[in-house]
Symmetry: C2
Subunit: 262 residues, 2 copies
């Protein structure tokens, strides 16, 4: 256990740099905070780079066994590296896990492809729901918000540590997915098939578009079917994280045995 008191300590400086995507990409690390997220992290010890603990919390059982990787800080210093006003005594630097696109290609299950999702809260919520409903993983097109953005990490409630995520998925990879018999679905207010009448089993990828522009025409064209979530016609649209949750919940319901959720 190390006690750090200076802002100029190298580990503190690293934590602060990880607020920027450039450094997260370069180091392959990201910053998490909050008791719940850190508890989630210590369950996958291979992800841990550094655990930050506020003075007075260092004797907590779930922390003690990580001796060398634990840094004890005073409240002020912990708050200075945190993104929220109240990190609840815990934060950490974690290793990003790289998932192999080829492995995904050869797998099966229900995946979600997000096309230029911009809002960190939405992406975090989608990660949390996909993790909860046993989705195989998440594919992100270029120009999507970074899944290791602090707000995404926070609102995923630990999901970012568990759900396979593959970023910067390009046209060529989308083509490979088609060649490997992945079937693409999207949502469309004008579609005829309600989501609960569609078959959501098999190798399926649900495509959801950005908050502002929806799914790109290029991706729409490769969709095998478009699904409707029937809503009040006065209402423009659902929030994208809500639409995602409703469909992945239905997929989990249809694929019950496969996901072992019950």
């Amino acid at each position: 256990m190390k006690f750090i008191t200076s802002k100029d300590n190298a580990t503190i400086r690293l934590a602060q740099k990880l607020k920027m995507k450039k450094y997260r990409d370069r180091e392959g690390l990201f910053f998490i905070e909050g008791r719940r997220s850190v508890e989630e992290l210590v369950m996958s010890p291979e992800h841990i780079h550094t655990l930050f603990v506020q003075e007075g919390y260092e004797e907590q059982d779930f922390i003690r066994s990580f001796g060398d990787q634990v840094c004890v800080l005073n409240e002020q210093l912990l708050n200075s590296i945190a993104d929220t006003q109240n990190p609840q005594g815990f934060a950490a630097i974690a290793h990003q896990k790289k998932y192999d696109f080829q492995d995904m290609l050869d797998s099966s299950g229900f995946w979600v492809l997000l096309d230029r999702i911009a809002d960190p809260g939405n992406l975090g919520s989608i990660i949390r729901s996909c993790w909860a409903f046993g989705v195989g993983g998440l594919l992100l097109t270029p120009q999507s918000v970074d899944p290791y953005n602090p707000k995404v990490v926070r609102s995923s409630m630990g999901g970012v540590l568990h759900l396979p995520i593959i970023s910067e998925v390009d046209d060529e990879q989308v083509q490979s997915l088609q060649n490997h018999n992945w079937r693409f679905l999207c949502t469309d207010m004008q579609a005829m098939t309600p989501y609960y009448e569609a078959d959501l089993t098999g190798k399926t990828i649900l495509v959801l578009g950005s908050e502002a522009e929806g799914v790109s025409n290029k991706l729409k064209k490769i969709c095998w079917n478009s699904l409707k979530i029937p809503i009040n016609p006065q209402v423009d649209s659902l929030n994208v994280a809500v639409a995602c949750a409703i469909i992945v919940a239905e997929a989990a319901r249809q694929r019950k045995g496969e996901y072992r959720l019950l």
Copy 2:
């Protein structure tokens, strides 16, 4: 149409005061911003108190007919009263609509009761989903976040103007609901019945609890049935707005005819 250039103008000062709940309650007004929300407001003209339009946007069709109620501001002044960095040229002061508890008591349908929901983004998202899925309305216990909080209003995407909302619902009113044969349901990870096997038709109230503490024991006791949303057992819980959307979507599906959503 009035042109306002001074921060000290009474209407500008009123807009600023409405950021505080105390003034919203006293005046029975609230502040909204963003093109989409203002477009939603002008469809219910009886709600309009004042429309704020940025110079250059005052000739938009949907604004022109409200002559006296329109104030034209320069960009800087509009931004100074807005809650976001980009109000997209439009904001407004709107009248709160008061819904009568007695009317609700004698009505029927599917309602949602939120117990001490604290996060404005969650409440806004719940309002948007409830509006979309034809929920009768929303009941809020004391200590819930104010539905006219600017962030709630924004994330409801106009829903706050349409969905009946009754705040400060107390124990006595809950008792009346029971006496009027409203049936209460809640969610519980330990419950036996998956939400899609429960009957969600009839006079039903779904009770959802605060992000931190869930549903109070007092409310749990009056629930006729508790529902399970089957998820990966590794995952703690779903986001409350996501859980709400999944269940109200299922209710809409079961009550299809009634809601005329299709």
